[in-house]
Amino acid sequence: MRYALSKILLMIPSLLLVSALIFGLIRMIPGDPAEILLGDNLNPAALASAREELGLDKALPLQYLYWIKSVASGNLGVSFMTGEPVLSALSERFVVTLQVVVPAFLIAIAVALPAGLVAAYYHHRWIDRSIVLFATLCLSVPSFWMALLLIYLFGISHNWLPTGGFVSPAVDFLEGIRHLVLPVTALVFVEIAILTRMMRASAIEVLQQDYITHARAKGVSEWRVLFLHTFPNAFAPSLTVIGLILGSLLSGTAVIETVFGLPGLGRFIVDAIYARDYPVVQGTLLFVVVVYLGVNLLVDMLYPLFDPRVRLS
């Protein structure tokens, strides 16, 4: 517990720096939110009043301090464009992202861990080679290209699955699942590829260890060797990478979400960047960073459960 606490405290300087980076970077892009907001109806008076309304007339350091102060009190501000509170908007979008990312992630784990294990077991044999080749191929197909091919095959050539939009499975389960099939498929291959290659590598290493040789010498069945002795030990090193992948996936998959018209977190940020919706960009990116660091902290905490050799100090 103390370990976690100290880790969290260590995150604070990083987070402050991230917040300053985000705040500065988004403002360095040319383009004025007030101009975009006014669009066709621009005139100097309206511009001035819009800038005042958005708080853009104040000095930059002051704007930053106001923002940090309100973030510290749990308020991420409201969107320039829609006036919606950023926190509630981003949680809605995050739920959508979760519904795509979590199934893709779970499927990837369910496929990749056994595949990696099997490949390691048959190291250097044809079965290993084909698994590696397939995984490397999956790694090489850009996910948005995969998305386009899927839309072409299932949406345009054959009219089998919906190619866009989002229906919450909570509202209409079957429709919701049907809408998720293509985006999840477009995402899942890359994840399978990364996890399979990693699981294979650590399993190969474990299989060369003395205790496996001992176990085999003692006459333990190959099945038990693989799943009871090799798997847990090979899984631990994979955990960190799993954490990194999940962390970055949760920040949304802007391109996939755009292609399939999903109102997820990634598209939310990209749209906000294009619209110079500062509060949304700042709040959402900060949220994403916190999630990323949180997931990785969680993985750090879980690590000793899987690998008893590691003691947290």
């Binding site: 990634g266 940020i269 994403v288």
Partner: protein, 292 residues
């Protein structure tokens, strides 16, 4: 996160015969040949092209592949084969330069942090971790918008986004090398800091860096396409493969080749780079072979 750091001993194990070993791996051989062909085609495109890749032709718009246009034509009636050839150069150049930029910057920061240690290390690593925690593609997108779209913009944006990864790897390597006796010996003998870094530390990071660079190169190629997809990338008229894919996508139902051909080219190139990367890893770094 420390598990991610490539271990240095692998580098020191590097044998002069590394490249020969790679050539003996069939998948690596095929990949090398494929990549060499792409590079040769890209170079030859500066000398000869079947058609002018920029010439608009109103009478030959979106034609399917045929005898006169082997890969068909695009929305403006431009020859797709010629554009693919020119695009190969653009895509490879952009990816290469962004990796080089990331490597130089990352190595500088990583070596400095790892060698100096203390506050230098801590403050540099806070910055590196902060950047690493942000989604890479969004960071690159924002940087592109600040720097301005263009080949230089893509290179700088991707380079800046990848530099922290390099810095982390190099720092880890340097940290463990620093403990080694030969450096201590060298400093006892009165070697200066830059001299020690240059003579002993930097060479030992080459192995892990080669492996990392191959994976960064693949990521850069992918990210350039993704940036084009999000509306910013290498600007026309000179095409990048990613840009062509992004442009072709709106015609997917009427002219699918506009999207299939660049997509296939990207996929095959990525496959070759990834296979080659695996081989490099096996030769330079046999133990830590899968950590990315």
């Amino acid at each position: 996160m420390n598990q991610l750091v490539l271990k240095p001993h692998a580098a020191s194990k590097r044998t002069p015969g590394g490249w020969e070993k790679i050539w003996r791996i069939p998948s690596a051989r095929i990949s090398l040949l494929f990549l060499a062909t792409v590079v040769l085609l890209a170079i030859s495109s500066t000398v000869y092209l079947p058609h002018d890749p920029l010439a608009l032709n109103i009478d030959a718009r979106m034609q399917a592949p045929s005898g006169s246009h082997w890969l068909g034509t695009d929305f403006f009636g431009r020859d797709l084969l010629s554009r693919m050839l020119v695009g190969a150069g653009v895509s490879l150049r952009v990816s290469l330069f962004s990796v080089v930029f990331a490597t130089v910057l990352g190595t500088l920061v990583g070596t400095l942090a790892g060698y100096r240690g203390g506050w230098t290390d801590r403050s540099l690593m806070v910055v590196v971790d902060a950047i690493l925690a942000m989604p890479g593609i969004l960071l690159a997108l924002v940087l592109m918008m600040i720097i301005g779209a263009g080949e230089v913009g893509v290179v700088l944006a991707l380079g800046l986004a990848y530099a922290p990864t390099v810095a982390r790897t190099v720092r880890g390597t340097v940290l463990s090398i620093r403990e080694k006796e030969f450096i201590e010996a060298s400093s006892v003998l009165g070697g200066s800091d830059p001299h020690i870094m240059w003579r002993h530390v930097v060479p030992n990071t080459v192995g892990p860096l080669t492996v990392l660079c191959s994976s960064l190169f693949a990521q850069a190629l992918l990210s350039e396409s993704a940036l084009s997809f999000l509306g910013l990338g290498v600007p026309p008229p000179y095409p990048s493969w990613g840009g062509m894919l992004a442009d072709g996508r709106q015609f997917i139902s009427q002219a699918p080749w506009l999207c299939l051909i660049p997509g296939t080219a990207i996929t095959l190139t990525l496959l070759a780079i990834n296979l080659l990367g695996d081989a490099l890893r096996d030769c330079f770094d046999p133990r830590e072979s899968e950590h990315r």
